[in-house]
């Protein structure tokens, strides 16, 4: 009996000891974080990178605060101390672990493994052969000796081949090289840090610790939930929200990506949006006579109730890009959605072979943009392209048959500012239509059939059924399709970038917002300015989407 009761007591002592260690650990962590913060503002190592300094300071102070708070809570055996401790140690472990990977070049090694993988394919095939040999032994269930012989041979083949595979792709050599790199203070510190943080996670995660900290099932479930959520949540914070906020900061600087950015406040936004209006004495009065051409460029001039007006903008190309983008959206979205709606109704039929056609229309959506753009570039070629060839042939045929004299328009699809954007719209609509069709098809399948049956009984024709049942019932799908297609259209870039040469097209007729952003950010390296454009674009898209949501909500209530 004494032994039975002694074990929990011993375990409790152990747990108390571990929790005391955890308290010391967090106290040390708190002091170390504060010391690190102090060092950050003393060292020259990251001088000039104020954003990095600020970010690290915030993180270290958070770490210090969390650790400083965790220690007394653990002493009081408050379950919140356990939660704080786990969070701090988990994040600390991730930073140290992946930091060590980075410092040791493991990410680069993984990247290189993708390159050397091809060398190992024959050995993988040999592994599979080994498995087949082993599996062949199962045919001799009545002869165990023979069965074991085959299985043994199979295993040897598999093991040898797999080891050779690891050598062939360079994994073994890579691991040896990585092990050789653990010599400097930083890799060692990160490795030790990983082990310590992992140990403390283990200490606090154990059930005895949970019991000692008065954690109940709901606390455990919460921790489990956040643990499973953490890959996605951390990925979102690090790879999406982080860069997003960083770009916001950059948009208030004159960053060129190479030198230390200077804070310029709202200058970038002012430069983007700055416009001026002036009255002209005559319709053809030179722009330079009414506005300072060192600042403004002429955007447009027009007659307004007998007054000649000219509008100048500091960044004319931004407004041009905005106009092109809006035109693109206004034309491309209906062309991507309306045909998809009708097509989905056709493809919703139950006639034989319809699945094949569904696949056919979907193919452009999954095809690579580069390939598509290059093929369409050839098709659109004004001199030797197939589109103009078919137009010319058709006109010639018509003229011969009908005796007309229709002239071949010889459309310069990509080199005429009137048709260049249209060419891009045609490609994008063609490519997007298939995906939208599938979405509409899914929506159609959800419409109850009895509605159509009742309408048929009431004498409604096909058109009336489509207009009175299908369209209203598809409203949520239509809303989703239109919203997503609009957002995608607002960000059109890759089709234009590949199709057009130069990408901005004739007379900048295909200059879109994202293309302009790219040119500013990655060709002229005005990253601060480009970030500001990105935020203006974001606000524009957000406002548009918000309005659509509001309208949809209002119509839903009305409905």
């Amino acid at each position: 009996m004494a032994t039975v009761t002694a074990t929990p007591g011993h375990q409790a002592q152990n747990t108390d000891a571990w929790l005391t260690i955890a308290v010391v650990w967090h106290a040390l962590l708190c002091v170390a974080s504060l010391g690190g913060t102090f060092w950050l503002w003393q060292t020259e190592t990251i001088a000039g990178q104020s954003w990095l300094q600020t970010l690290l300071t915030v993180l270290l102070l958070l770490m210090a605060a969390a650790s400083g708070l965790a220690a007394p809570l653990i002493i009081r055996r408050d379950h919140r101390g356990r939660v704080l401790s786990l969070v701090v140690n988990y994040l600390g472990f991730l930073v140290c672990f992946f930091g060590a990977w980075h410092v040791l070049g493991i990410f680069s090694g993984l990247n290189d493994l993708a390159g050397t993988f091809g060398r190992g394919i024959p050995f993988l095939f040999a592994v599979f052969i080994g498995y087949l040999v082993g599996a062949f032994g199962d045919r001799f269930e009545d002869n165990p000796a023979q069965q074991q012989l085959f299985q043994r041979i199979g295993r040897i083949i598999m093991l040898v081949a797999f080891v050779m595979f690891l050598f062939a792709i360079g994994l073994v050599q890579g691991l040896i090289a990585i092990a050789g790199r653990i010599d400097g203070p930083l890799p060692i510190a990160l490795a030790v840090g990983s082990v310590l943080f992992a140990t403390m996670i283990w200490v606090m995660w154990r059930q005895p610790a949970a019991d000692a900290m008065n954690a109940n099932n709901s606390h455990t479930e919460m921790l489990n939930g956040y643990l499973f959520l953490s890959p996605n949540l951390l990925g979102f914070l690090v790879f999406f929200a982080g860069p997003l906020l960083f770009s916001l900061y950059i948009s208030f600087t004159d960053s060129d990506a190479f030198s230390t950015p200077n804070w310029v406040g709202f200058d970038n936004y002012a430069d983007i949006l700055n416009m001026s209006i002036a009255q002209l004495d005559a319709p053809n009065q030179p722009f330079s006579e009414v506005m300072d051409v060192s600042t403004y460029s002429e955007m447009t001039r027009f007659n307004f109730f007998g007054q000649n007006i000219v509008i100048g903008a500091e960044d004319r190309l931004f407004w041009l890009a905005l106009r092109n983008t809006i035109v693109f959206v206004l034309v491309a979205v209906p062309l991507s959605v309306i045909p998809a709606l009708f097509l989905s109704n056709l493809l919703n039929s139950k006639i034989p072979g319809m699945k094949f056609f569904r696949a056919v229309y979907f193919i452009p959506s999954i095809a690579a943009v580069v390939g598509i753009a290059l093929i369409w570039q050839l098709l659109f070629n004004a001199t030797i392209g197939y589109i103009n060839y078919f137009i010319a042939t058709g006109i010639e045929f018509t003229n011969q048959i009908l005796g007309t004299a229709i002239a071949d328009p010889q459309i310069r699809w990509l080199s005429d500012s009137r048709t260049a954007l249209l060419s891009v719209i045609i490609i994008v609509a063609w490519q997007t239509m298939g995906f939208n069709t599938v979405l509409f098809l899914a929506g159609l399948q959800n419409i109850p059939k009895d509605l159509y049956e009742a309408a048929t009984v009431d004498g409604a024709g096909s058109w009336a059924q489509f207009w009175r049942i299908t369209l209203p019932m598809l409203a949520p799908t239509t809303f989703f399709v239109v919203t997503m297609t609009t957002i995608q259209a607002m960000q059109v870039f890759d089709h234009i970038f590949i199709l057009m040469n130069p990408p901005a097209g004739p007379n900048n007729s295909t200059l879109s917002m994202v293309l302009y952003l790219y040119q500013k950010g990655f060709q002229r390296f005005e990253q601060g300015y480009a970030s500001a454009i990105a935020w203006v674009l974001f606000i524009f898209i957000f406002a548009l989407t918000f309005l659509r949501f509001q309208r949809e909500r209002a119509s839903a209530y009305e409905g």
Binding site: S108, G109, V127, F162, L374, N381, T383, I498, P502
Partner: protein
Amino acid sequence: MKSIYRLLAILSLVFFLVGCGGAATPTDAPAEEEAPAEEEAPAEEEAAVEEEGVEEEPMEEEAATEEEASEEPAEAAAASGDGITLRWRTRPDNQAEIDVYQNVSDDISSAMEGVTLLYEPGGSETSSYQDVLKTEIAAGTAPDVFWIPGTDVADFATRGLIMDLRSMADATEGYSDDDFYPGPMEHLTFNPESGSSGEALWGLPRDVSTFALYLNLDLINEVGAPDPRELAANGNWNWDTFLEVASATRGLGSDIFGYGQNAWWGPYGYWINAAGGSFFSEDRTACALNTEESLAGLEFEQKLYTDFDVAVPYGEDSEPPFLAGKVAMFQNGRWATPGTRASADFNWDVVELPDGPAGPSNWLFWGAYVVNAKTEHPEEAWNLIQQLTTAETQGKIAELGANVPSRVSEEALDAFLNFTPPENNQAFLNGLANNPATEGPLWAGSWPEYDATMGPEVQAVLTGNKSIDDFAASICDEANKAFN
């Protein structure tokens, strides 16, 4: 235990299937080596081709290319242990060029004691060579040595992205700026602080090139027009005789064109320069597109599209119709030769550009090997770019026919001249000899900004959407904004 082997087998099968899918992807350095640049860069070429947007077909072989190009050196680098590894990059146009550069890299690598070279061919259909390069520089992952087009030297130098090699060059026995064509060296030795040439050294020119007219001799013979090569030999090759040949061949059919060019600054720059005009003022600190001479050149070119109607519509890629046998005279640089050799199934040759009202004119295009300002091995990098520009190396590359050696060397030029067809290789050298305007960086402003302003405006003129007068009235107001 059995389940472990089963798992192993299933994993292997999955790996195998995945591997089969990825077998065509690049295979580079073993795991222990630092990853070479992950990008597959651009559809850029010489500055010229970048602008021109000629999509070189060999880029489809990009993936295989990198595999073959970098696998062996990477292994060598891995084996070299403590030695210095230098990464260098250029922008080849096709697999043959990549192979030559790889061989050059291997030869130099074996000759440079303690240094292992990793050659990285840059360029892809979807990204710009310079864009990717600059992004890598910003991220600190750019190669030690790389090629850039001549127009970009100022941008890279003034941003502090490339190293001034002057002090090392001065200490190098046998090195002389005079060994290279003076035009590129004037820009490459320019000191932006003092505003004088000869004081800095931003790199060494890899190659030079000029424009020529690629001739479809079958079309010219069919219509009985004078042979431009003979006209040039007799000193009668000028804008009038050019127009005569272009108009005659245009008469062969509605789908046959007398002349073709692509939409970037080089081709229209020739017409402006040959009329006595220029993009910039003489000291390159202001726009000169609105001078009488510049406008005269542009107006003549405009008429080729409008009044005379002899040219492939401006903005259309003229190379495909030329290779399809539908263009009599196609203005392009030496870089178009390999593609023409591979694809043209008609008789063709080249001739120098016709003399304009101001006499002979052409561009001297060039690009340079430069050293990353953040390289850890500047001495070795300087040594490398010297090795990359020796007469022997340039001769090897010139044998490909895609470019003209930048070093004034008989050995290198002989290799170039012996590469036929085209028979009339001398046309390119004549272009270099006869008053070429050197493609140059814009030290006093931003060339990309200037080009972005000038290109659409010129296009508007050449497509008939803007009159010469309207162009003259506004172009320099806008273009001058590109200057500091």
